[in-house]
Symmetry: C3
Subunit: 155 residues, 3 copies
């Protein structure tokens, strides 16, 4: 039976698929003690298609960027579920680091990242309130519009 | 009565104000075990005005960048004080990650970040010596010249 | 006598020199509990010469980028050895964060970072499989082509 967090995801229309396996010598997550470090997740759907491709400030709209950041958050949760089996075992979302594929004059990275932050709080409640860092980078893998990495505390 | 670290800050002319509350679904810091993760802090004063705006390599001077990085460090300490009540409870500044809003040919990011590193060592002594990563990014929120995030160990 | 990990490094023709001391108020690593945070390492040899200088997408080839990332990994291991005395004390490579000095249209950052990831797995085996984040940044210190920071779990 799905736990509380997955029920909230389902109510938002989000089902977690099995995570995509990295095609290189790294993994989706590493747990050390009570901390779970999740690899940077780009804004791809479970079939590998990018939700938004290109740069904020040059073709990708703010609305598309927010949806992309939300997709990154879904991918983080997919990894967390693979790690823990049950998202209810998350004691706290510790930190999200958000990287926005940006032109040098795009100043609204934080608004983009809210797509990830809002999802975390929607499904985890106060345990979803995290430390956050947002920067605008020159480019991201496969020209993804957004990439987010996460650190989670396990109960 | 102010602790040792705050006395050293006061001797440098620095008073810590209450931290600014993020205007979104994230928070200024999260503590997990003995580790305190502080959100990326841009170079703004306590009233929200940027100490330096724009890019190193295009208008923002090295001297202004150093002052901006120092301002980021002050903002990190503001969050740490809000988290712990007393900066003397910091056992170690573990890591600072510095992001410099840079043109593609600005090579002196580390000199900029020294503005943050020097303040940490000035007020914490050897406990202030941290691991550090410095990168030059395409852009930062609100066109801030510098952003620094931090991890602190709590005694 | 060299431990298992250093023997594997030697078989790859890699000898770890003493780490270079940062010329500022930060250090090469900080240990807190069982976690070792290593400062961002640029792709320099032990005598300070860059393995690759400039941007992927503008002069630095993918092959040169891979060699540069591998060099960053060697520098991380140099710091780990300085911290622990013996690389066999590493229980897990927890996370590598890779920053690639990129033009805005260079999309193969992950292939570059494989130079670091492959070395970790070659010498640590499954303990070397890490979480990873790769982003393309506007510029790096001294125009280094690649910079990698790491978190390690100590046995």
């Amino acid at each position: 039976m799905a736990g509380t967090v997955e029920q909230k995801l389902a109510a938002l229309g989000i089902t977690l698929e099995a995570p995509r396996t990295p095609v290189a010598n790294y993994v989706g997550f590493v747990r050390t003690g009570n901390l779970l470090f999740v690899s940077g997740q780009v804004c791809a759907t479970s079939d590998g298609k990018l939700i938004a491709r290109g740069k904020l400030g040059a073709g990708v709209t703010l609305e598309q960027g927010v949806a992309a950041a939300r997709g990154c958050a879904v991918n983080l949760l997919t990894q967390v579920k693979a790690a823990l089996g049950d998202l209810d075992k998350v004691a706290r979302v510790v930190r999200l680091s958000g990287f926005v594929n940006s032109t040098p004059d795009f100043l609204d990275g934080p608004k983009v990242l809210n797509g990830a932050s809002d999802l975390m709080v929607n499904v985890f409640g106060d345990k979803g309130r995290h430390a956050r860092t947002t920067v605008g980078v020159a480019v991201l893998p496969s020209d993804a519009a957004v990439e987010v990495e996460g650190i989670f505390e396990v109960a």
